[in-house]
Amino acid sequence: MGTFKLAVKLLFKDFNKSAFYCGSLLFSSAVIFVFFNMMANPVYGGATTFAESANSFGSSLSIIVVIIAMVMVFFANSFYLISKSKELAITTISGGNVLSLAGFLFTQNAIIMLIAIPLGLTIGYFINPVINTAVYDVMGVSANSWAIYPIGIIYTIISITTETVWIVLIDTGYAYRSELNDLLTAERTMKVKDERTMKFPSLVYYILFFGPLVLILSNKVLVDVYVFYALIGSCGVIGIMKFSLPKILSWFQNRFCLAKKHMLIAIGNLNHSLKQSSSLIIVNVATFSFLACYLCNFFNQTNYLVMILMACGVLSFLMAVSFVYKIMIEASARIASFKHLRMLGYISKDIKKIVRIEIIGLGIVIIGLPLLYIVAIFYKSVEASIISFSFALSIILGYIAVFLVSCVISYFVYCNLVMKGRGR
C-alpha cells in the first residue's frame, strides 16, 4: 500500500485522534476571518486599504491575535503528531524514508485542512454579523452587519496560508528529526532536557520578572513604557518556569510532601507540567500585559476599545483552549504512571485528588503570573484616573473566569484520560 493510501486509510479509521486538531484549525480559521474583517471595518476605525492598514492600530492587534491563534494550532498539531507517532513508526519499519513520512503527514494534514479551513471560514462568515450586530448596538451605530471587506479577506488568506506552510514545515521537521525509537515511545515519554548554552543563577530570572513590576509600581504612570517592561518580564518568566520554579518545587516536595500521599505525586507532576507549559505561560504573560497596556492607552477611544476588548475575549479563549490542549498532551503521557499508582495502592479518589492539586497549582501559575503585571498596570492607571476601577475589576474578573473554566475542563479531561480502562 502506498503512503498516500495508508495515510488516508489510517486517518479515517481513527479520526478521533485528529478530531481535536481538526477542531482547532476550524476554530482558528473562524477567529482569523472574523478578526481581520473587524480590523478592516471602518465602523471600528479599521483600515480599508493596504496603505492605511500598514500603520493602523488594528494591524498590530491583529498580529497578536493571529500569532496566538497559530500557537493554539501549534499545540493541537503537537498533540496530533504525538498521537500519530506509532503510525509513523510503522511506516518507517515498513521501509518508509523521511520523504514518505513527510508525505504521510502532508496527506493527512491536507485532508484535515480541506475539511477544517473552509468550514471554519463559513462559520466565521455567519458569526461575523452576530458579533457586529451586538457591538453596533452597544456603540449605537447603524451599519450593514454582513459587510465583508476585501482587505480583511486578503489578510485572512495570507494568515491561513502562513499557518498551513508553518504546520507542513513543522511536521516535515518532525519526520526528519525523529528516530524510530522516539516515535515508538513518543506517546508515553516525558523527558525534558536542559538545553541552555549559558546558565544563569535563578536570581537573574527573578530580577528580570519582578524588576519591571517594581518599576511599574514605584514610578509615575507611563503606559507606553509598560509594554517594554512586560517584554522584559516575559524573558524572566522563561527562566523562572524552566529552571527556578522546578528547584523550589523539588525542595518543597522533599521538605513538606514526603509523608503526604497526594501532594508527593501531585507536586512531582506539577513540576513537570510547569516545565512543559513554560512557552504557553510566557506567551500568556506577554499577551495579557500588552493588552492591559492597550486597554489603558485607548480607554477613551470607543472604537479602538471595542477592538481591544474583542481581542481580549478571543485571546483569553484561545489561550484557555491551548491550556486544555497542553493538559491533554501531558495527561496522555501519564496514563501508564497512573496505572502504576493503582498497582501500588492508590484508588480512584486519590487519583482525582492528585489531578486536582496539580491543576490548581497549574492554574495558580497560569493565571497568577500574568495577573501580577495586569494588576500592577491597572493599579497605576486607576490611580492616575486613566481607567475606572470598575472597568479594571471587570477585566480582571473576566480574565480569571475564562481560565478558571479552562482549569475545570482540564481537570475533567485529565481525569477522563488517566482513569479510562483503569480495571482494578
Binding site: S250, I265, H272, G345
Partner: protein, 255 residues
C-alpha cells in the same frame, strides 16, 4: 501452614461473544505459602501473566476464587484492594514502572507514604533499602537519568521498602543484561532465604527460574507440571526445569 494465596478453580475468559472468547486460564488450583519462591513458566500465550495478575489482585477471575490471607479478592472493594496492595504486595515488572515525574528517592518512598509512615521514618527506610541495593548515589536522580539495571534496582527497592508479605514479579529480568539479571535473582533468593519473603515470579528463562524453590509449568491455561527444588542443587534443578520446558520439543523428536 496457612496459605497466603489460595486459588480455587480459577478460570479467566477474555472476550464477550462465543466467537471472540478466549479461555486464558482453565480451572487452575494453586496455593502459595509463606516463604515460597515460585516461578511460573510456560510458552507464549500459555496464561502465565494472566495467572500472576489473577493471583495478585490486578485482575479478577471469570469463575472460581482467589483468597488472600483468607479474604476473597472478589469481595474486596476498591478501597480494600488499595489498602491490601500497599500493605501486603510488592510489584516488580519488566518495564520497571517507575514514576517519571518523581526522583528515585520519592519513587521508593511512595508505598511508605501510602502507609502513612512518618517523614523521618520514610527517610531512614529509603536510605536503608537504597544502601542494601547499592543505589544510594542515584537517589536524587530522575528515573530517565538511570541505567536499566539501576532502574530495576529502584523498582525492587520500592517493592521491598514496606516489607511486603508477597513480592510479585512479571519478567523482572526482561530488560536487564545477564549480569544484572543474576544479581537481581541472587538478591531475591537471599531475601527469600534470610527474611522469609514470599516471591511469585513469571519468567521464560530457565536459568532465572533455577533460583526459585518451585516451578509451575503452565500450558494452554492449565497447570501442566510442577518441579520442586527440594534437596536438589541449583544445577540439577535447572536441568529439571529445562527438561520440563522442552518436553514438547522432545516428544516431537522421539515420536
Amino acid at each position: 501452614m496457612n496459605a497466603i494465596v489460595e486459588a480455587k478453580n480459577v478460570t479467566k475468559i477474555y472476550g464477550t461473544t462465543d466467537d471472540t472468547q478466549v479461555v486464558a486460564l482453565n480451572e487452575v488450583n494453586m496455593n502459595i505459602f509463606e516463604g515460597d519462591f515460585i516461578t511460573i513458566m510456560g510458552p507464549s500465550g500459555a496464561g502465565k501473566s494472566t495467572l500472576l495478575n489473577n493471583l495478585s489482585t490486578i485482575d479478577l477471575p471469570t469463575k472460581g476464587s482467589v483468597k488472600i490471607n483468607g479474604t476473597s479478592v472478589k469481595a474486596m472493594g476498591e478501597v480494600e484492594i488499595g489498602h491490601f496492595r500497599y500493605q501486603n504486595l510488592g510489584f516488580i515488572f519488566q518495564e520497571f514502572n517507575l514514576l517519571a515525574t518523581l526522583r528515585v528517592f520519592e519513587n521508593i518512598a511512595v508505598p511508605l507514604t501510602l502507609a502513612n509512615v512518618k517523614k523521618s521514618e520514610i527517610k531512614e527506610k529509603v536510605r536503608k533499602i537504597a544502601k542494601k541495593l547499592e543505589i544510594e548515589e542515584i537517589l536524587n536522580k530522575y528515573p530517565d537519568a538511570c541505567s536499566g539495571g539501576q532502574r530495576q534496582r529502584v523498582a525492587i527497592a520500592r517493592a521491598l521498602v514496606t516489607n511486603p508479605k508477597l513480592i510479585v514479579a512479571d519478567e523482572p529480568t526482561g530488560n536487564l543484561d545477564s549480569k544484572n539479571s543474576h544479581d537481581l535473582l541472587a538478591l531475591l533468593k537471599k531475601m527469600n532465604n534470610e527474611e522469609g519473603v514470599t516471591i511469585l515470579m513469571v519468567t521464560h528463562d530457565s536459568m532465572i527460574a533455577s533460583y526459585s524453590k518451585k516451578m509451575v509449568y503452565i500450558k494452554d491455561g492449565v497447570i501442566d507440571g510442577i518441579v520442586e527444588k527440594e534437596e536438589l542443587n541449583q544445577r540439577d534443578y535447572f536441568y529439571k526445569i529445562v527438561d520440563m520446558n522442552s518436553r514438547e520439543s522432545q516428544n516431537l523428536f522421539f515420536r
